[in-house]
Amino acid sequence: MFTLAKRNLFHDKLRLAVTLTGIVFAVVLIVIELGLFVGFTRTTSALIDHSHVDLWVTSSHVPYLELGVPMNERKLYQVEAVPGIAGVEKYIVRYSRWNRLDGGQDQIQVVGFDPDRNWGGPWNVVEGDVRDLKIPDGVMVDDVYKKKLGVSRIGEVFEINGHRARVVGFTHDIRSFTTSPCVFTSFRNALDYVPIEGNQTTYLLVKAEAGADLETVRQNILERVEGVDVLTSAEFSHLTQRYWTFTTGAGIAILLGAILGLLVGFVVVAQTIYATTMDHLKEFGTLKAMGAPNRYVREVILVQAIIAAVLGYALGMLISGFVVHFGQPAGAPIVMNWWMATAALVITLTMCAGASLISINKVTRLDPATVFKG
C-alpha cells in the first residue's frame, strides 16, 4: 500500500511539484504569520512581563500600558503605607521625540525607572550597565534600532524633547511592536524627556512582602488610595495584549493571514490530490474489484497525502527558517519555537488529510463493476 501511494505521488513530477508548492506556501504563511502573531503579542507586553513586580497601580480605567494617565506622586506614599507591601517605585512610559545627529526626528517610547532596583528596566543588556543610567543624561537603546535612531556607539549625545541624552549602553532584542523604539532611562531623567509634571508618575510598581496575599494587598490599596486601579502584572499584560491584538485589529489581520495560507494550501492540495486520484481511478476500481476493502483504498490516498504533507512541511520549515533568520535584523518580531513547529506539523498533516477526504469520498463510492466496462 505504501509503495502504491508513493508511486502514485511521485509518478507525475509536475503534479508533485504543484502539490508541494501548495503545501510549502501554506506552511510558510502559517509559520510566519503565527510567529508574527506570537511575537507581536509578546512584544506588546514585554515591559510588563519583564518588570519583576507583583502589582501595577494605574490611574482609573487605563486600557493599556502606553496610555498611562499621570497621577500625583503622593499616591506613592499612600501605597507605601499599605500593609503587606515590600516596596513601591514610580514608573514612566510615555512617547517623546528623539533628535538624530543628522537633524531628523523619530518618535520613541521613554521608559523611566529606578536603576537601583531595576523594576521595569531593561533586560538583555549587551553593552554598558543599568547603573550607568543614574548619570543625569544617561539613556540605553536597543541595538536593533541603532540605525533607526542614528546611534553607533556608547558616548554619543542626542536630544530627547529638547534635553541632552547620552547613550550609556545597549540592550539586545527589546523590540517595539509600534515604530517607536524603547529608550530606557532613570525616572529622574524621564521627567525631562516627556511632557509630565515633576511631581507626577504614570505608574506605581509594587512588590508585595514574601507570602503576602496579593488579593488582600490589592483590596487594601484600593481602600486607601482613591482614583486608581490595581492590576497584577499578569492582568495588565493580558489587558495590553488584548488591546493591541484585538481592539486595534492588528492581531486579527495577522491571524487572518495565517488562515488565508491554510485555506489556499487546503484548496491546492485538495485539487492536486483529487486530480491524482482521478488519474488513477481505474486502478482504484481494479483494487476494489480484486477485493480491497474501502479501508485499504482510503489508506492509500491518506498515505499519499501524508507523504506530501511531510515533504511540504520540511521544505516549508526550511524556507520559514530563512525568513525568520533574515527577518529578525529588519525588526520583525517573528517567534519560531518547538511548539510552533509542532503545531505547524499538526496543522499541515490535518490540512492534507482533510484535503484528501474529497478524493477518499470519490473512491469509496466508486463501483468496482466499472472494471468490466472495457
Binding site: L4, M290, G291, N294, V371, F372
Partner: protein, 229 residues
C-alpha cells in the same frame, strides 16, 4: 469435482428511466473445480453481468449465488470484498495493471490486499511470475511489457493468495491470435492441472474450444450449452 460456483434462478434488473431492463432472467449455472467454462454470446446478452454476479461485484436482483459453499447472495455489500479477496482472482480485458508499479509489485499489491507482506510476499511474487514464465521481468514496468506479457502478469496477480476461482473477462481481446492462444492455454492449465474453477467471458470464437463447456447466453437466458466431455 467440487462445486465452486452455484447460480440458481438469478435475475438482474437495471432501472432505466421510468422503466427497467432485465439483464439476466432466471439463470442456473454450476461451475466445478478443475473445470474451465466459457461464457459466450452477443454484446448485451448478459454474460458480463453474470460474470460480475459470480464475482460478487454485482448483486443479483433475485436468486441464489453460492461461492465455495457460502451463500453470498444474502450477504451485506460490505462483506463482498472479503469473498472476492478470499476466493477469487480476476483477469481483465485491458489487463488493468498498475502502471506505476513493476510486474512484481503488481503481484505483490494483490498479496498486500490479502495481508501477505514482507519477504514472504516478495518470494511469492517471484514464484507467481516464474509460474507464468516471467521471472526475468520481475522489476519491469508494465509499459515495457508486450500485451501477452501484461496479461500473464495479470494472471500471476489473479493467482496471488491462491484463490479457487479465476474469472476472466475477454482475456484475449487485446491480444493477437498467437498470444491469445498461449494465454488461454495458461488458463486451461490452471483449471486442469491446478484444480481451479475458471470462467471466461469471450466474444472470440477461436478461443471457445479451450473450454470444457461453452455456455451461450442470449437475452439474459442460457440459450445453449455445449460440453466437450
Amino acid at each position: 469435482m467440487n462445486t465452486a460456483i452455484l447460480v440458481r434462478d438469478v435475475t438482474k434488473t437495471y432501472a432505466e428511466g421510468a422503466g427497467s431492463v432485465s439483464a439476466l432472467r432466471g439463470v442456473d449455472l454450476e461451475v466445478r473445480r478443475g473445470e474451465m467454462v466459457m461464457l459466450v454470446g452477443p454484446s448485451g446478452s448478459g454474460k458480463t453481468t453474470l460474470l460480475s454476479i459470480m464475482g460478487c461485484i454485482l448483486s443479483a436482483t433475485a436468486g441464489t449465488v453460492v461461492i465455495d459453499g457460502e451463500q453470498v447472495s444474502r450477504l451485506p455489500e460490505s462483506e463482498l470484498p472479503r469473498v472476492r479477496r478470499d476466493h477469487m482472482g480476476f483477469v481483465f480485458q485491458g489487463f488493468n495493471l498498475f502502471p506505476t508499479l513493476s510486474a512484481a509489485e503488481n503481484v505483490g499489491l494483490m498479496l498486500d490486499v490479502k495481508g501477505i507482506r514482507g519477504p514472504q510476499a516478495r518470494k511469492q511474487s517471484y514464484e507467481l511470475l516464474d509460474s507464468v514464465g516471467l521471472a526475468d521481468k520481475f522489476d519491469t514496468s508494465p509499459a515495457n511489457l508486450s500485451g501477452g506479457q501484461k496479461q500473464r502478469v495479470a494472471i500471476a496477480r489473479a493467482l496471488a493468495g491462491d484463490p479457487g476461482i479465476i474469472l476472466a473477462d475477454e482475456p484475449t481481446a487485446a491480444l493477437d491470435s498467437h498470444t491469445g492462444r498461449s494465454v488461454m492455454e495458461m488458463l486451461k492449465s490452471l483449471a486442469h492441472e491446478r484444480g481451479r474453477a475458471v470462467v471466461v467471458v469471450t466474444h472470440d470464437p477461436r478461443v471457445v474450444e479451450f473450454g470444457d463447456r461453452a455456455i451461450r447466453i442470449e437475452d439474459g437466458l442460457i440459450a445453449s450449452q455445449e460440453s466437450k466431455k
